[in-house]
Amino acid sequence: MTAQTALDIAEVTAAAPRRQRALRFPRSRKTIVGLVLLAIFVLLAVVGPLLAPHDPTATSADLLQGPSAAHLLGTTQSGQDVLSELLVGARGTVLIGFLAGLIASVLSVLIGVTAGYLGGLADDLLSLLTNVFLVVPGLPLLIVLAAYLPKSTGANPLVLALIIALTGWAWGARVLRAQTMSIRGRDYVAAARVAGERTSRIVFAEILPNLTAIVASSFVFTVLYAIGTYVALAFLGVVDPARWSWGGMLFWAQSQNAAQVGAWWWFLPPGLAIALLGTSLALLNFGLDEFINPRLRAAGLSRKAAKAAGVPRRVRFGLTPVRGGRR
């Protein structure tokens, strides 16, 4: 969905003057909310373990208590402090998400740009590879991979991020390939080639800078995917649940029937934290999408603002007026 939109629309990007782009991007309210939320979570990942009031693994006599002054978010079945688990778990969740996003972005740029730039047989083969990875369901493959990994290797964040990235790069590669093909055919690239510039310079200096927005958007999307996948793996218990993460918290809550006994303080905080982190990334991606495709921005003034300014705003033919068309 987003992939296709980005494809169709990316051509608009190149035309927009650079200065205006830089100014306009952060203005959208969605983007700002997304950025602020994301910053809070990243901060939490860095300082969270220091803020935790208790050792998350330490058991106490308060079993399955609701929120109180001593335990702000209550305790688990074995008396562990939920708030401490939440704060300590932030680091693992955010770290793996970003690590996997980074690895997957590098992979998708390498494969997508290579396929788009070279064309021919190399393109056919790389596209085939991309499409295969796109269609094969990622989660079951990851579960098989993670289950076979020896427990000590499987607990390593880098290994986990690597295998998650392995199933998450294909979407970005497909979008980047299409955009590279479109840019490759432009006059200025042809000029650079005629001028005898090296291939590496054409790729890195002429093509890649024009792909920045798409790379950023696919990075955010992949981080979102990676966090969701990591949470799912931890929830299933494939990843060692003794390491604190939000998915691991949900694993314990589920396996100890937290929902059935009504211990909402146990599973609600990690779930909401995941949802908010995901929302912040999705909002950020919205902003990037609108930045790549100006037509997705809310058109003109809102009804209220138009009325206040005394501008008549009538929707003709039931169509929404759009500022600055493509042609």
Partner: protein, 325 residues
């Protein structure tokens, strides 16, 4: 036709790749997976089960890798996915055959419902851009970011445990004999409502957003303007735009489907729904590798089949793919 044949060829290649990866994973892992298994299960696995696993994984050491690879394909061609170690001596195929219908019906129905609702809402939101309907977007974004199984937990606790409107586990009332009887089907539908609602609500946002974005882009096209300028009723104009805007949604079906399937597997676990997802959890907990690998293959094949179906729909919707010679 040529377009469809090419797609079928692609799916065959993908299926081959999935089978090959599945074959090689146990061979590439450090150490002897069978020894690892015995060590982890601490004597729980019977010697017969261990030997069966060794033969099935092609780790007997008697044959070359290549002949083991061919042997693996021959086994698969007979529908033989090996012996499950946790349900020993039941075969993986028999375990999966029991679970598969539940998952296919649940995921199939909820995917179709979610696609239809999402597309319609997406069209509406795009058409009335700038009105209060824009408020749907942030809400949809939030639901898209909520993990399926977390939403399932909430639905379970509120509608199942607290209000008691719906059963909280199982696929049907165990006291009713399975079969094509009204009582059994009624009970199965009653048990399936909550998981279905969960999957629809969690996945509908993706369709809304995709359709809305494409629709906004399509409404800018000249032919839509012409249709409106000719004075055609709004319904017709929306129809013209929507028919074109829906194409990317259909073609991105493959991408979405693997998300939906992954989410549905986890939803089943929360509701203890007797489908593939629940088997997956049990296989993970029991470290039943043949069952895990069998599940991976079956899900992959099911997803490929669904994709082929989406391609056929695409060909029906878009005449260009049919003319391409």
């Amino acid at each position: 036709m040529i377009h469809l044949l090419r797609r079928i060829a692609f799916y065959l290649v993908t299926a081959w790749a999935a089978v090959t990866v599945n074959f090689f994973i146990p061979h590439l892992m450090p150490g002897d997976p069978v020894q690892n298994l015995i060590a982890r299960q601490q004597g729980k696995a019977s010697p017969q089960a261990v030997e069966a696993l060794r033969v099935q994984l092609g780790l007997t050491g008697h044959q070359s890798l290549w002949s083991e690879y061919l042997h693996y394909f021959a086994q698969l061609a007979h529908g033989d996915l090996g012996i499950s170690t946790s349900f020993f001596p039941a075969s993986v195929s028999s375990v999966l055959t029991a679970a598969l219908p539940w998952t296919i019906v649940l995921v199939g129905v909820s995917t179709v419902v979610s696609f239809v609702i999402g597309t319609l809402v997406g069209v509406l939101v795009a058409w009335r851009r700038g009105s209060w309907l824009d408020g749907v977007l942030p809400v949809a974004t939030f639901f898209q970011a909520v993990p399926y199984f977390f939403f399932a937990l909430i639905v379970l606790i509120v509608l199942g445990s607290n209000l008691g409107w719906f059963p909280i586990s199982g696929g049907a009332d165990p006291s009713i004999d399975p079969g094509f009887t009204g009582a059994f089907i009624g009970s199965a539908i009653y048990h399936g409502i909550l998981p279905m609602i969960t999957i629809v609500v969690s996945s509908v946002a993706g369709w809304i957003l995709g359709m809305r974005n494409m629709m906004v882009t399509t409404m800018d096209e000249d032919y839509v303007l012409v249709a409106a300028a000719k004075g055609l009723p709004n319904r017709r104009v929306i129809g013209y735009a929507a028919r074109n805007a829906i194409l990317p949604s259909v073609s991105s079906f493959s991408l979405s489907l693997s998300f939906v399937v992954a989410g549905a597997l986890l939803t089943e676990i929360v509701f203890s729904y007797p489908g593939i997802g629940f088997q997956l959890l049990q296989a993970v907990q029991a470290e039943d590798f043949p069952l895990l690998q069998g599940i991976f293959l079956v899900i992959t094949f099911a997803v490929l089949a669904a994709n082929l179906l989406a391609d056929v729909c695409y060909a029906v919707l878009d005449p260009r793919t049919r003319q391409e010679a």
